[in-house]
Assembly symmetry: D2
Homo-oligomer: 213 residues x 4
Amino acid sequence: MKVLITGFEPFGGEKINPALEAVKKLDDEIAGAKIIKAEIPTVFRKSIEELEKIIEREKPDITICVGQAGGRFDITIERVAINIDDARIPDNEGNQPIDEPIFLDGLNAYFAKLPIKAMVKELRENKIPASVSNSAGTFVCNHIMYGLLYLIDKKYPAMRGGFIHVPFIPEQVIDKRNTPSMSLDNITKGIGLAIKAAIENKEDIKEKGGKIC
Amino acid sequence: MKVLITGFEPFGGEKINPALEAVKKLDDEIAGAKIIKAEIPTVFRKSIEELEKIIEREKPDITICVGQAGGRFDITIERVAINIDDARIPDNEGNQPIDEPIFLDGLNAYFAKLPIKAMVKELRENKIPASVSNSAGTFVCNHIMYGLLYLIDKKYPAMRGGFIHVPFIPEQVIDKRNTPSMSLDNITKGIGLAIKAAIENKEDIKEKGGKIC
Amino acid sequence: MKVLITGFEPFGGEKINPALEAVKKLDDEIAGAKIIKAEIPTVFRKSIEELEKIIEREKPDITICVGQAGGRFDITIERVAINIDDARIPDNEGNQPIDEPIFLDGLNAYFAKLPIKAMVKELRENKIPASVSNSAGTFVCNHIMYGLLYLIDKKYPAMRGGFIHVPFIPEQVIDKRNTPSMSLDNITKGIGLAIKAAIENKEDIKEKGGKIC
Amino acid sequence: MKVLITGFEPFGGEKINPALEAVKKLDDEIAGAKIIKAEIPTVFRKSIEELEKIIEREKPDITICVGQAGGRFDITIERVAINIDDARIPDNEGNQPIDEPIFLDGLNAYFAKLPIKAMVKELRENKIPASVSNSAGTFVCNHIMYGLLYLIDKKYPAMRGGFIHVPFIPEQVIDKRNTPSMSLDNITKGIGLAIKAAIENKEDIKEKGGKIC
């Protein structure tokens, strides 16, 4: 089995992206699967084009994109991507789409093709704070997650995939008051466990994990 | 023009629901439109059935459901409802569905049929903190929003509609540490302004208001 | 009985100070006592000098200074002022003392001469979120509270006094993400109730209200 | 040089205390000084009595007590301890004093006899989030800090000392929503750096680090 795991380049004024740093530190083999690592530009459109090239070349069984969710307290497994770009800040090439659909022929939303509850459970049982998230935002993270699931829907129906958001690491919050962080070691461990759970669970488990709002 | 506005009954151990209290206090006419107010049970399925009965009877031009988002800092206009029920706590009749679709023949998600950016702008210009939210959760609030938009899609294509989440009011946070609230007066004023903006803007405005994550 | 109540002028880039706005709106008589209102400059030293002049002129029985605590969720009755100025930002005349004592002949700290638990209880029973705070910071708010209690200790032993911190009001948080606020009406009501409790309770009540950290 | 460093036993329903776990993992020698480690009961009075016995036996040059500050985002070096016990929950032997002085012959407050700004700077320069705190609460943490500084004042004038608060570690927040944590490795590293800075700075540095409120 082959798993493609991607991390975004830094954005929004940050010097590093913990998602990318953690992806780089992952083992090259997890639960018997070969791990392919890639860096993706934090740019609308181009990120999906890059992703598609790598998928076309590598033909992974599972693709998981990882991004930074500054301000979140734990590792979040995203449930759904929506067909909208709505950028609060410009991306790394200055694009700032507002309320535009990502693909005109795409569904309003795609649900992750991943066992999100099993992944959360695996992390929590290993002492890594984690939960299901019901929104990946409306910036490039949601954009690539939507793009990935659109590609699965249209071209790679056998592939599974989804998105993971990770918190800031401590060095990023030195000058940010009351902002949570997680150590790079724990983020790396968490992503590894999530990959393991994705490999080992073809079907998701039935487990509480919803949000009231 | 006729606007139907609904509020949920209290849930989750709360004695009151600020959404319902605010709905009751709304003027009977806003921006020239007649305002019809209704209380909806915080119960999966039954909430949608009740809503449909009222819509069938009243034939409103716009329907907006309002719910409590305990822990949020401002009034949020919801952008999208997803086709999933995932209850962290039981509803008011003890139902607790986990990861079940709301309608098997529904889309993965429906976008609000409301000028969400114009509504946010109207509130903010009138000194009421407000923003767009990209998740209504996975409890009864998302459920009714999805149900409303499903009904619009399937049966009432001329109707517009969506969902507004409101914070706790001060009396609800007396014993909750570090939990934000908004006065009932401001919530009521905010909902009124949101209705006004929905009436006055057939099309939404192009305005920043996305979230990075 | 005469109660002097002061509010600071705006600082830190804010256009208004909710403490001052609320003080201005207070009734001129509360619980049978005459209420004297005054504005105090948000300036080290000068604030205490101004306060002393007013105390000398008005001879109040109780003096309560009120300040803005941006980011706090509720109205906080301060327990203690410490003998240190440590300014993170300059005051309104550009002074920025770092780790300097306020009065060389003052105690390390003074406890409020107010029934702080009775005041908190009065607010909470009237549905206004409130709690005891154990730090008034190290800026001009702590400075004036310390100055007031120093004056009580050295010159006006019959006077009682202390400090109240109030949250932002909604219009101040329109552009601040995830920042709590309280309506000006509720802040005004809360300060009035606190004054009433201070007048009616010569001794404090024994009531839980400490903080673990 | 000899440094005594203490950690509290778990309290408040927690199974572990990150302060104690980190203290145990410290090196036995830091910056040339011998490190003596001790566990202190989370009990009013008894904690100070235990501390005094160890100080009497070990005659340390510096004593630093460490405690858990659940809910804080970073490592905080405490500036001041106040002469009050006000317990929101019972201590580990069921004591719950409310608004009682710790020592009748003690000052209202004692400032830490530590270079708090230099300690914060040392941590931040090494990528560990840290700040000065102006309140150690009113539970056993403030109690032991006050007791330590009282002992310095009355019996051990040559000794220096103070208190450090540390956040929850990740495994403690698995079931706590939106609660920050810090890895045990980073907490341990941070305490070690704080000790180093305390040893190397007899006088504190002049550095911004105050709080507005």
